[in-house]
């Protein structure tokens, strides 16, 4: 459960520069949600990986960044969505070291480890949506 949600700020992802903008937006929101420096770094890094995935594999899309509150802790929620080809073999895509695009294959699996919650919704030909949450400790 992610609880109450603040208003989401949306950043389109269509170029390299947008990946940088997503990082900066996530950083700003993470600071506002009072995440520790390490947790800020983790969620920004995860966002960077996922934003690049959205750009490279999803052919562009968007990131919606918001604060969340479950009554006890605050956190940051980022939802990446694209209308690209989708992921055919999810287990394979989430395996460390697997890549279909010449990267290190740590994008998805690494981002999942860096966040507290990770939800992935994909269908071949229907795009991919990934929602991650990082809670303040």
């Amino acid at each position: 459960m992610t609880g109450a949600e603040g208003e989401a700020q949306v950043q389109a992802i269509g170029s390299d520069e947008d990946v940088v903008r997503v990082r900066q937006l996530v950083r700003t929101v993470a600071v506002a949600a009072k995440l520790s420096l390490v947790d800020q770094t983790k969620v920004v890094t995860a966002a960077s990986e996922l934003a690049r995935n959205t750009l490279v594999y999803g052919g562009g899309g968007q990131a919606a960044v918001s604060t969340v509150d479950n009554g006890q802790r605050r956190g940051v929620r980022v939802v990446f969505s694209d209308s690209g080809p989708g992921i055919a073999d999810l287990d394979l895509a989430l395996t460390d070291g697997y890549t279909s695009g010449g990267g290190l294959g740590l994008g998805l699996s690494g981002a999942r480890r860096l966040c507290d919650e990770f939800e992935l919704d994909t269908a071949v030909g229907a795009g991919t949506t990934i929602a991650v949450v990082k809670w303040a400790r």
Binding site: E17, V19, V20, R23, T41, T45, S48, L104, G110, L114
Partner: protein
Amino acid sequence: MERVPILKIGSVLLVSIQVDMQDQMALQLQEDLGQRIVDTGAKGVIIDITGLDIVDSFVGRTLSTIASISRVLDAETIVVGMRPAVAITLVELGLSLDGIRTSLNVERGLELLARNAEPETVDDLDFLDEPETTSP
């Protein structure tokens, strides 16, 4: 596009990354650095990442590639100034930066380069100056 400046100090090239790099900028640095190593005959490269508040897998991979390229060009690369939060995140991400040597700060990095430099003192090269006495 903005470029990361490369400074030459003695036989060492110093790169200090101060901005949140776009992927393209990182690739440009990789290219520029190879060229500068060849142009200057530098034996060591120090990349200062004190200014980076995150290192993701792309930047990590670029650093690894830079280290490999430098090695082929006979220069050793040392990455210095990684922040604790960045290091913790990289461990969690599963990125071990294999093949990259690291140091806490620029000073320690220079020490490490000096320590690992191949012995190339004048004494070792004396034989080059000796007159060829054996020839008839």
